[in-house]
Symmetry: C2
Subunit: 393 residues, 2 copies
């Protein structure tokens, strides 16, 4: 399986917003792109046709989870993950590095790989770079991730450096194991600028069909996250897609695109949805709130999702107050559609050379959940944007 990427617009600055087209055998992905998460080969509550109706071009599955259940060999015998889950568009798989390294106390790491016990039944497994790639090859995904060594956000520089070096070695093992797969390089380094720089340069030098920025959004400050992102994107080739792993709030998408990121995924949209939290241009709204009890209007009059097109806030409030599963589904489709539409708006703004204005306007109106975070983001944007008159769009 091969992929190709073509920039279609935006800045020649490696740390600037751009649009692109990523082509796979299962279809094209317009970037910037948000990828809905279907960990277990299902985007929770949604049918493949509904995911398609949100405008999403690609979705994500998790190799670690599917390795444990139902098993990658079973999925391969059934014709691969596309057929298994009924989604004929592009699929990207995470290798499960993040999941395996999150199993504190259940795992033991060596240069060969990771011994761990299943979080489901306690069974013992040995997950190696080669096995992670075998799983992804069996699934038949369009874009694979290598097994990387993920460390806690607060790791010191020695541990982080060792993890970076191991991740570089494991990437070569991954490539060698399944050379036919389109496997992105994952760049680690915690919040250590010199490590991020080193890893980005070495990864760029080694070459890859795309580059993932891992190990962020794991507890560090937003300003650290964006500083690290910039350190990395500045080093990456312009003609390869950049994927910021596990990042995906509305404000994060805007800030990421501003820094040259092309692809995002996050369970936040779907997880918040099942809790009744809905994205709107003025921030998050929780539909369980009593103020929506009798509201006859849709959550977002500009949204064309199934929920906003057909149902009042009063009805969705009623569904959530009674734990009705249809409510979880409507909210899920709305939040995914919101993020996909946000990428559409950013693509349009980039094409029009107006991304900077769009981003400044968006971030000034979007009330992030934490006021402190929002102020920090606005300040950050202002520092990098308007005042200097820099045009990165």
């Amino acid at each position: 399986m091969t992929i190709s990427f073509r920039r279609t617009g935006g800045s020649d600055n490696p740390v600037g917003p751009r649009t692109g087209l990523l082509t796979t055998v299962h279809g094209e992905i317009r970037t910037p792109a948000f990828m809905p998460v279907g960990t277990l080969a299902t985007v929770k509550t949604a049918s493949p046709a509904e995911v398609r109706s949100t405008g999403a071009d690609i979705l994500l599955v998790n190799a670690y989870h599917l390795y444990l259940r139902p098993g990658h060999e079973l999925i391969e015998r059934l014709g691969g993950v596309h057929r298994f889950m009924g989604w004929d568009g592009p699929i990207l798989s995470d290798s499960g590095g993040f999941q395996v390294f999150s199993l504190a106390g259940l795992r033991k790491v060596t240069e060969d790989g990771v011994h761990f016990r299943s979080h489901i039944d306690g069974s013992e497994h040995f997950y190696t770079p080669e096995l992670a790639m075998e799983v992804q090859a069996a699934l038949g995904v369009d874009i694979a991730m290598p097994l990387d060594q993920v460390l806690p956000g607060e790791s010191d520089i020695q541990a982080s450096k060792a993890a970076v070096e191991r991740t570089l070695r494991w990437f070569e093992r991954c490539r060698a194991a399944q050379p036919q797969l389109a496997t992105f390089a994952i760049i680690q380094g915690g919040i250590h600028e010199e490590l991020r720089l080193m890893h980005a340069r070495e990864a760029a030098q080694a070459g890859a069909p795309g580059f993932s920025i891992g190990g962020l959004s794991v507890g560090e400050s937003k300003s650290s996250m964006w500083a690290m992102t910039e350190v990395v994107t500045r080093e990456l080739p312009l003609d390869r897609p950049r994927y910021l792993m596990g990042v995906g709030s509305p404000e994060d998408l805007v800030n990421g695109v501003a820094r040259g990121v092309d692809m995002f995924d996050c369970v936040l949209a779907t997880r918040l949805a099942r809790n009744g939290t809905l994205f709107t241009d003025s921030g998050r709204a929780n539909i369980r709130n009593a103020r929506f009890r009798e509201d006859p209007t849709p959550v977002d009059p500009n949204c064309d999702c199934m929920m906003c097109a057909h149902f009042s806030m009063a009805y969705v409030h009623h569904l959530f107050r009674n734990a009705e599963l249809f409510g979880y589904r409507l909210a899920t489709l709305h939040n995914i559609r919101y993020l996909v539409r946000l990428t559409e708006r950013m693509r349009e703004a980039i094409a029009a050379g107006a991304f900077e204005d769009f981003a400044a306007d968006y971030l000034s109106r979007y009330q992030a959940v934490d006021e402190g975070v929002r102020r920090e983001q606005k300040a950050k944007w202002v520092t990098r944007g308007k005042p200097e008159g820099r045009t990165r769009a």
Copy 2:
């Protein structure tokens, strides 16, 4: 709101299968009909468009539940229950008699009505025939049910007679309260043949746009249930629809249609679905069973529901093993479609004068969940069917 009913085929025997067309301002209902249950103004997990895609012409909501939450007045202010839930087809509401009388220990019954405490928050309410009708008028349903007095299945004849007489008086109060509503008469009488006969005759004499058979499928034997059904349908006018309340397994639909029933509802299809139990022509199958783990075929190759059209048993098994909400939805749509398709098959058989053969064949192949029940049903059918050479279709 008015309705009209026209028989379109079948027997002139009041205790025989027939087809019909029930017309409401929101559309037509082809009978025999299965009505999916949307207690709280949502058929659990399914969108209105999906309910429509099952072929269902009408669905059911519950006045008692909607009175308690979100409140009928709120729904009325929002334009009625059709607009509230986004279903533009016919809606029938149950009055909530069954629910109110199920609140053992929480209620006190007088001739005026029922004092009860909410099962949700303990608040006190006084539910009367007039209030039950006010609720249904506010919802704006196409077909309403009167408040009836429901007794436990094992009630003695004195208590049952008193309940029948009260139900007759309450029906007149219901009609007087909202004369514009199409309100069916509900026939009670437990498993006392003389009471069922008396109530059916008095209800037929008083007249109504349709007749409901209540108080069955509450623990009595299947043979008692069908004996009572026949006692009632024999007394009812041919030109009015008959609705067997709360009954709705596949074998029950066939046995009910054989006895002149036109309409059915039951939460069984949707409740079983969320437990992984799927209807097939050979009986119930639980998709969690390990034998489906790697089955690449659909549950029912003859079924055109979303699940059977697009997904393997292996995939649905995987969804259920992981408590994925999409699985509950697929199973729900399958079971509803199965029952609606069963009514379609029965309508075709009746039109072809072949219902008796269809029913005998169906019941001989359908393995009811309880083998004893199945044997009893088969014996009952044989007694009433083939041997005497009676043609009721």
